[in-house]
């Protein structure tokens, strides 16, 4: 199959970027999108051109590294999917595919399609952990947690930190990510000791990092590979108000 890629090329953080067109043949429908980019890069190497830089790691949809904006959607045309799980069968022979890096003030472009997502790490550092000693796996079972609580915690713990929520948000808000990390721990007894501090510190860092405010467009929950609902953001807001009142 033949595809025309229009890919954002940018030498470095401070250089100007632009879309460059690459006509590429020899792709197959069962290639993943990242394999198609690999295929393109191999051709570029043979021609002596610089390869397209893009982030990737596990290629099985669990690491959250492969964040790019494909044809106007974070992670491509499907809902709840990472780029590595997107296959070329989702496109037609002869299609033009526009590939851009994630756009957000807090995610500056490093090179081509690679953005700096360490702002997420700094939010995590503010409290997405517990200080209680949980002991061994066997001891963890000593704390009884109702099934529905454990399930709802797991629902948000599924966040892989890919940044699609920020990328698709018109405000570049990190509310879905931050809420997932907060609610994951605050729902569980192990997270209770630092519950209020966690909410206040992590949301404060979110503001420092120049992420925007959530206006509930709900675009994030459509793109989230883990299918985390925006009700998680509402829950974070409730926890924030509670923390402000009782801290």
């Amino acid at each position: 199959m033949k595809i025309t890629f229009k890919i954002w090329r940018q030498e470095g953080a401070n250089s100007e970027g632009s879309l460059k067109t690459y006509d590429i043949d020899g792709l197959t429908e069962d290639m993943s999108f990242l394999e198609a980019l690999d295929h393109l890069n191999e051709r570029l190497v043979l021609k002596g051109e610089k390869v397209v830089a893009f982030d990737h790691d596990c290629r099985e949809g669990i690491c959250g590294q492969c964040g790019v904006f494909i044809n106007g959607r974070a992670h491509g045309p499907h809902d709840h999917m990472t780029t590595c799980q997107l296959h070329m069968r989702s496109f037609k022979d002869g299609d033009i595919i526009v590939v851009e890096p994630y756009r957000a003030g807090a995610f500056p472009v490093i090179k081509d399609l690679v953005v700096d997502r360490t702002a997420f790490d700094r939010i995590i550092e503010q409290g997405a952990y517990i200080t209680a000693k949980t002991g061994t796996a066997a001891e963890a079972n000593a704390i009884l947690i109702p099934k529905e609580v454990a399930d709802s915690s797991m629902d948000v713990a599924a966040c892989i930190g890919c940044g699609a929520c920020v990328a698709t948000c018109k405000n570049a808000s990190a509310a879905l990510f931050t809420s997932a990390k907060i609610n994951h721990l605050n729902k569980l007894p192990q997270g209770h000791p630092e519950a209020h501090k966690r909410v206040l510190d992590m949301t404060n860092q979110m503001a420092i990092e120049n992420f925007g405010s959530c206006t509930f467009t709900a675009a994030c929950e459509v793109e989230c590979p883990a299918g985390i609902s925006i009700s998680s953001i509402a829950e974070m807001n409730a926890r924030y108000i509670k923390a402000k009142l009782f801290e």
Partner: protein
């Protein structure tokens, strides 16, 4: 960053409640001419003379000002958080048009409010412009102000058409206000989305239809 959104949510909800009262009162205009004139004028006199309503009125002015100012600040900051735009962006596939354009809808509603205040509030309460007469019972004839305004086709169009952005703004705004203030029950949110839709439809159609009916009276 949370307090700004909370202020927008609280003031927005207050304005939503106000709209219900306002629309209910406007329904008086649908009565036959003489009944409507008497009822409407005595109702507006009661409002003007009530201390409680005076307090509510000041809360209303403050709500509008705070809602607009904080929405402008949040919008400005949000735009700064997303300076670089995508060359191709299929945002309509992931979110509603209204949710992406609350600022634009808000500006249209603000223009409406300014014109609306000039038409009524400025004339009746501030006494600016053409003097308003009294009716047979000695009440200020607000009905006459309304009646003559809505016999101008341009005003009828202005008042009715601008209820479309109001409807879209209310539909997204009402449910979002609850989420901003921390209402996160999933089934409750689904119900809330339906209530917001029904509320927005009633408000926009209700307010839009009254000038048209008065025009044909």
């Amino acid at each position: 960053m949370f307090y700004r959104k909370n202020i927008i949510a609280v003031t927005g909800m207050f304005l939503c409640v106000f709209l219900i009262v306002h629309l209910s009162a406007n329904a008086i205009l649908l009565f036959p001419e003489t009944t409507a004139r008497t009822l409407y004028n005595s109702y507006s006199t009661t409002l003007r003379e009530s201390i409680v309503i005076k307090i509510v009125a000041y809360l209303l002015y403050l709500s509008i000002i705070f809602h607009v100012v904080y929405a402008a600040i949040v919008t400005y900051k949000n735009r700064r958080s997303k300076k670089d735009k995508y060359i191709m962006n299929h945002k309509h596939e992931t979110s509603s048009w209204a949710s992406q354009n609350m600022g634009l809808l808000g500006v249209l509603i603000l223009i409406f409010i300014v014109v609306h205040l000039v038409n009524f509030w400025a004339r009746v309460k501030l006494g600016i412009g053409e003097k308003v007469g009294l009716d047979a019972y000695g009440n200020i004839d607000v009905y006459e102000v309304t009646y003559s305004l809505f016999h101008n086709i341009y005003y009828v169009l202005f008042y009715s058409v601008l209820m479309i952005p109001l409807g879209f703004h209310l539909h997204h705004g009402l449910q979002s206000a609850f989420k901003t203030l921390g209402f996160y029950h999933k089934k409750g949110l689904a119900v809330l989305a339906k209530i917001s839709l029904i509320y927005a439809i009633i408000m926009s159609i209700g307010f839009a239809i009254i000038p048209v009916i008065v025009y044909f009276k």
